[in-house]
C-alpha cells in the first residue's frame, strides 16, 4: 500500500500522521507519490481526512510525523509554499472586495501579465461577476474565483479541496477541461473529491482514504485488479476496499 519516494515522483508523502488531541487520529501514516503532469484524486467520504491531508501537505497544519519529498529530496516547511499552492474548500476571501480586486491582487503578487489575467477570466467565465463583491457571488462563481486564483499561481503543484463543489454537470465538465489543459502545460494537480462520479471523470489515479488511512492507490485498472472487480465503478471499488 505504501509507496516509496523515488526520483521520478514530483511529490512524495511519507508516513504523514496528524492527531487532534491524544486520541483522534485524523490521518494515519499516509504515504503516496504524485507524478508530474497527473491529476491525483484523494477520494473519501466526509470526515475521511482529505482536507487534513491536503493542509498537512501544504504546510498549513502541523503534523505529528511524516515527511514530504520534492523530486526525492526533503521539502521543509518553509519551502513548501514555493513548491505548491493550496486552494481551500468553501472559502470566500476578502468578502468586501470585488472579484476583480481579489483577482488583480493575486495576479500582481505573482506578476501575471494582463493577458494572463484576461485568459484566466475567460477560461473560467468570470467576466459577468468581476464587479460583484465576493460576498455576493453565488457558490459556483465563488468556486470559479478560487480556481482562478489557483490558475494565476505559478506553482507546479496545485492542491485543491473539493474543486467541483457547487458546479452542475455541465460546469463540472467545463472545469475538468480547464484542469486537463493545466496538466497538459505540465502542472500536477492533487484534488480532494468526495463525489466519486466527478473523481472518476477527472482523475488519472486515486488515493482511497477512509478514517484517515489509505485503503488503495492507483488508476482504475490497478484498483480493479486489486479488488478483482472487473469493470467495477470507482464507487464499487471504494466500497470493496474500505
Amino acid at each position: 500500500m505504501i509507496e516509496r519516494g523515488d526520483s521520478t515522483s514530483l511529490l512524495t508523502v511519507q508516513n504523514l500522521t496528524k492527531r487532534f488531541g491524544s486520541e483522534a487520529t485524523a490521518i494515519d501514516r499516509v504515504a503516496f507519490s504524485a507524478v508530474a503532469g497527473e491529476i491525483l484524486g484523494v477520494i473519501g467520504p466526509n470526515g475521511a481526512g482529505k482536507t487534513t491531508l491536503l493542509e498537512a501537505i501544504a504546510g498549513l497544519l502541523p503534523v505529528d510525523a511524516g515527511e514530504i519529498l520534492w523530486c526525492g529530496e526533503p521539502l521543509g516547511l518553509t519551502r513548501r509554499r514555493d513548491a505548491m499552492f493550496y486552494l481551500p474548500d468553501a472559502m470566500r476571501p476578502y468578502r468586501d472586495q470585488s472579484a476583480w480586486q481579489v483577482l488583480s491582487f493575486v495576479a500582481s503578487v505573482f506578476r501575471r501579465s494582463d493577458r494572463e489575467i484576461g485568459e484566466t477570466v475567460a477560461v473560467l467565465g468570470l467576466e459577468p461577476v468581476l464587479r460583484k463583491r465576493v460576498q455576493a457571488l453565488s457558490k459556483g462563481y465563488a468556486r470559479r474565483l478560487m480556481l482562478a486564483l489557483g490558475l494565476l499561481a505559478p506553482h507546479r503543484l496545485l492542491l485543491m479541496d473539493e474543486p467541483f463543489d457547487g458546479f452542475d454537470l455541465r460546469q463540472t465538465r467545463d472545469i475538468v477541461g480547464v484542469l486537463r489543459n493545466e496538466t497538459a502545460r505540465g502542472r500536477t494537480l492533487i484534488l480532494s473529491i468526495h463525489q466519486l462520479a466527478d473523481a472518476e471523470r477527472v482523475c488519472d489515479r486515486f488515493i482511497l482514504l477512509s478514517a484517515g488511512r489509505v485503503r488503495g492507490i492507483g488508476g482504475l485498472a490497478e484498483l480493479r485488479a486489486e479488488t478483482g472487480l472487473r469493470g467495477g465503478s470507482l464507487e464499487e471499488l471504494f466500497l470493496a476496499l474500505t
Binding site: A58, R80, R81, F85, M91, Y94, S108, R111, G118, L126
Partner: protein
C-alpha cells in the same frame, strides 16, 4: 536539475500587499464607525476645553501674572486629545483586530501565508494599515487643532507635534495589541475581549495604583496609559519612546511567530518565550536611556536657562537622600518641581529614599528631611521649592547663583472666544464628510477593458 527546484519566489512587490491591506481596512465598518463616534466625542471635549479656557482667560486678560499660567497645551490640547485617547483605548482594538481577524475567520489567511512574502512582511504591511487607520481616526482631533488656530488660539509647533507623536505611539501600541490578540484567538470576538482586557485593564491599573509605592508602583508602570503622560507634560523621552517602540516591535514579532499555521504550538511557545526574553532585554536597555527633552513652550519641566547652564557645569556627583515615603504629597511636589528637573539638568544625580516607611510608623524629627551631598559637602532642607533648594545647591558647589533674568519667561496665551459654532463642524459637517468618504471608498472600481474583452471569448 531544474526539475528538482520548486517554483522559486521572484520577490513579490510590496505594493499590491499594501494596497490590499489599506483597501481591506477601509472596507470595514469598524474604522468608519469609530471615526463617526470620535467626531462628537472630540468635538464636545474641545468645545468644553475652549469654553473653560475662555473663562480663565477673561480674568487673565487683566493680569499678566495670571496670563502666564494659561497654556493651550494644558487648557485645550491635552483635554481634546484626552477624549481621543479614550476612543482609541475602547474602539481602536476593534479596527486593528479586523486587519487580521477578518482573514482568519474567512480562511483567507491560509491563502495569504502561501503568497511569496516573508511573514515579517505580511505583519509589517498589517501594521502599516493600522497606522493608516490611526491617521484616519485622528482626523477629528487634528481638525480641532486647525479650528483652535482659526479661532485665534496659539499652538506651539514642537509641543503639539510631541503630543501627537505620543498619541501615535499609543495608537500603534493598542493596534499591535489588537493584531496579536487576533492571531492568537479563534474568533474576532475573543480577540476583542483579550485586547480590551489589556487596554481597559491597564487603564484601571493606572488610576487604582496611582501614587502607590514598591511593587504596586512598578506594576502601575506597566500600564499602557503611562506611555502618554510625559508627552502630555511636554516631555520627549528617548527612553520611553524607545521602550514603547520595543513593545510594539515585540508584539509584532509575536504576531509573526503565531502567524504560520503549520508550526506546532510547542514551537510557537518556545519562540514566543525567546521573543519575550529579547523584549525584556531591550526594555532594560531602553530604561537606561535617560535623555529627556523638555519641549514645552513654558519650560515647565526645566529650571530657567541660566540655572540650567550653571547646573550643567556642576560635574561632581550630587546625592539627594529623601526621608519621605513616595506617596507623601511633599515627595510628589519635590519630584515634580526639583528632582526630575535636576536629573535632566545635572550630569550626575542620585536620589535615594531613606527609611521613609519606618519613619511614618514611628514618627521622628528626621522624617521630611532632605539631605543634599555634593562632593564632600552636605546640607539638609525640608523645602520642596526650587527657590530654596537651588541656592542651597549653589552654596554647596561654591558658585554664585545666576542673575535673575526674564529672557525666557513664558507670556501665556489667554484667549476669550465663543466656541459654540464648532459643534456644527463636529456634529454635522465632519460626520457628513466622513459618510461621503465612506460611500466613495466602498464604490467598486471599474474593470480593465482588456479583461472584459478577453472574458467575452467563448
Amino acid at each position: 536539475m531544474r526539475l528538482r527546484e520548486p517554483y522559486v519566489r521572484s520577490g513579490a512587490s510590496i505594493a499590491p500587499l499594501l494596497t490590499k491591506e489599506l483597501r481591506e481596512i477601509a472596507a470595514g465598518r469598524a474604522l468608519w464607525t469609530m471615526l463617526l463616534l470620535v467626531c462628537p466625542l472630540v468635538g464636545y471635549s474641545f468645545a468644553e476645553a475652549v469654553s473653560l479656557y475662555s473663562e480663565s482667560s477673561s480674568a487673565a486678560l487683566q493680569s499678566s501674572v495670571l496670563a502666564k499660567s494659561l497654556s493651550p497645551l494644558d487648557g485645550v490640547l491635552v483635554p481634546t486629545f484626552g477624549s481621543f485617547y479614550v476612543a482609541v483605548t475602547l474602539l481602536f482594538p476593534f479596527v486593528a483586530i479586523r486587519v487580521l481577524g477578518q482573514e482568519k475567520e474567512s480562511g483567507a489567511l491560509s491563502l495569504l501565508v502561501q503568497l511569496p512574502y516573508r511573514y515579517a512582511t505580511l505583519v509589517s504591511a498589517k501594521l502599516c494599515a493600522v497606522l493608516a487607520a490611526w491617521c484616519l481616526v485622528s482626523i477629528p482631533a487634528l481638525s480641532a487643532l486647525v479650528i483652535w488656530t482659526m479661532l485665534g488660539g496659539h499652538l506651539a509647533a514642537i509641543e503639539t507635534l510631541n503630543l501627537v507623536l505620543g498619541h501615535m505611539l499609543y495608537g500603534l501600541l493598542v493596534g499591535a495589541v489588537g493584531l496579536f490578540a487576533a492571531i492568537i484567538s479563534d474568533s474576532s470576538s475573543t480577540a476583542a475581549i483579550i485586547a480590551l482586557a489589556v487596554t481597559i485593564g491597564s487603564w484601571v491599573l493606572d488610576f487604582t495604583l496611582a501614587g502607590r509605592s514598591g511593587v504596586l508602583a512598578w506594576i502601575a508602570q506597566l500600564s499602557l496609559t503611562q506611555t502618554l503622560r510625559p508627552f502630555e507634560q511636554g516631555l520627549l523621552s528617548a527612553g520611553l519612546s524607545l521602550g514603547t517602540a520595543t513593545v510594539i516591535c515585540g508584539l509584532a514579532t509575536l504576531t509573526i511567530v503565531w502567524l504560520p499555521p503549520g508550526i506546532s504550538l510547542r514551537v510557537k511557545l518556545v519562540r514566543s518565550l525567546s521573543c519575550l526574553f529579547a523584549v525584556a532585554i531591550a526594555l532594560g536597555i531602553a530604561a537606561q536611556v535617560r535623555n529627556v527633552v523638555d519641549v514645552s513652550e513654558d519650560r515647565r519641566n526645566s529650571f530657567s536657562s541660566a540655572d540650567e547652564r550653571l547646573l550643567a557645569g556642576l560635574r561632581l556627583p550630587l546625592t539627594i537622600s529623601v526621608n519621605l515615603v513616595p506617596e507623601d504629597p511633599r515627595y510628589i511636589d519635590l519630584r515634580r518641581n526639583v528632582l526630575s528637573k535636576l536629573e535632566r539638568a545635572m550630569p550626575n544625580v542620585t536620589v535615594v529614599l531613606v527609611n521613609g516607611r519606618q519613619a511614618v510608623a514611628s514618627p521622628s524629627d528626621a522624617y521630611g528631611q532632605i539631605e543634599y551631598t555634593y562632593g564632600n559637602r552636605n546640607d539638609v532642607s525640608r523645602s520642596t521649592s526650587p527657590r530654596e533648594i537651588l541656592p542651597l545647591l549653589y552654596a554647596l558647589a561654591g558658585v554664585q547663583p545666576p542673575a535673575p533674568g526674564s529672557s525666557d519667561e513664558y507670556p501665556g496665551y489667554p484667549l476669550v472666544v465663543n466656541a459654540e459654532a464648532v459643534f456644527l463642524w463636529f456634529f454635522a459637517g465632519l460626520p457628513l464628510l466622513i459618510a461621503l468618504a465612506w460611500w466613495w471608498v466602498r464604490r467598486l472600481p471599474s474593470v480593465k477593458p482588456f479583461v472584459l474583452h478577453e472574458g467575452a471569448k467563448p
